[in-house]
Symmetry: C2
Subunit: 163 residues, 2 copies
DNA sequence: GTAATTATATCAATATATTGATATAATTAC
DNA sequence: GTAATTATATCAATATATTGATATAATTAC
């Protein structure tokens, strides 16, 4: 992954250009992701939240689900994380009274996760630092480039999901 | 981050298109990264290694450092991870006899991390599944698109590093 | 009505990844 | 020669993120 410079295999044969580009690409994905979490967390440090928690809150804040909440299953699928990992994340948010678990009236097995009033106002307060983060992180990109990158990443995500 | 659909702020004002695209972009970065680790680890499962360990081994396998190794400091900088995290990673690789720590003759404080002969042959054996992973993950991309994505990610990494 | 399936919760184990802090030895600055 | 700085190692605490497995209750299939 991190062999960003030309390399020779033990057999003495140089890697293909495809391999090299892919290698560089995925190494950048690794680095960018770590930095996103590191810097993103800095921008919302005043709330004591992490980028992952902000992802969950953001999902729950969407107008189409903000009143009814989302099932655990829907959140797992939407965020693309494991159930166990999400459970711990949710416990943390619930401990802080930002989210609540309510019974799903349509399916007795199910629980819906919903933002509390506190969670909503926290999310609102977070908008400014979140926007500041986005602005700073993408300062070097034109609007077109942002859209292109978004689309390419979307396709990469899909490719990885079906690998 | 995960508000991939049009949203209204609590104040009733829709987010700017910039905010929305950025939001989608970083959510995709999150998802793609998690999937990269998940699937990448699958492809090298036979070696019992993780994507992060493969990143370290790959760095150490480069011809410009394969004989002399790299200092811990250089590895920290190259990989962009914390010293503590790298230390644990290195301990794992060393426990497996894939890497070794040797004295740096030019600086008595320093240790150079180097691939062992075993580490080298493991790396060689890993090339096939690594290449298979790259091929599968990027099956939907043209060569041009791969290069474009790599470059955009590189710039994103740089932007995040200086945020 | 019963077996199979599903939603949730939880336990366990393992591996990142960050920040803060300390200690020792070697190198550099003055 | 001494203070300041640096490289490494390590301890601590916290938060992801994955896989495997189990249990209970509710729903679906037949």
């Amino acid at each position: 992954m991190p062999r960003t410079r030309q390399n020779e295999q033990a057999s003495g044969k140089p890697p293909s250009l495809d391999y090299d580009i892919a290698n560089r690409l995925f190494f950048r994905l690794y680095q960018a992701s770590n930095l996103m979490h590191k810097q993103g967390t800095r921008y919302v440090a005043e709330f004591g939240t992490t980028t992952q928690q902000w992802a969950v809150i953001g999902a729950l804040a969407h107008p189409s689900v903000i009143d009814r909440g989302m099932t655990v299953k829907a959140l797992v699928e939407f965020l693309g994380v494991s159930r166990q990992n999400l459970a711990i994340l949710l416990n943390r948010l619930e401990d802080r009274r930002w989210t609540e678990r309510i019974k799903d009236r349509e399916d007795g097995r199910s629980r819906r996760i919903r933002l509390t009033a506190t969670g909503r106002s926290v999310w609102t307060a977070m908008q400014k630092p979140i926007e500041a983060f986005y602005t700073a992180a993408l300062a070097d990109f034109s609007p077109d480039e942002r859209t292109i990158l978004y689309r390419l990443l979307d396709r990469l995500k899909t490719g990885l999901a079906t690998t």
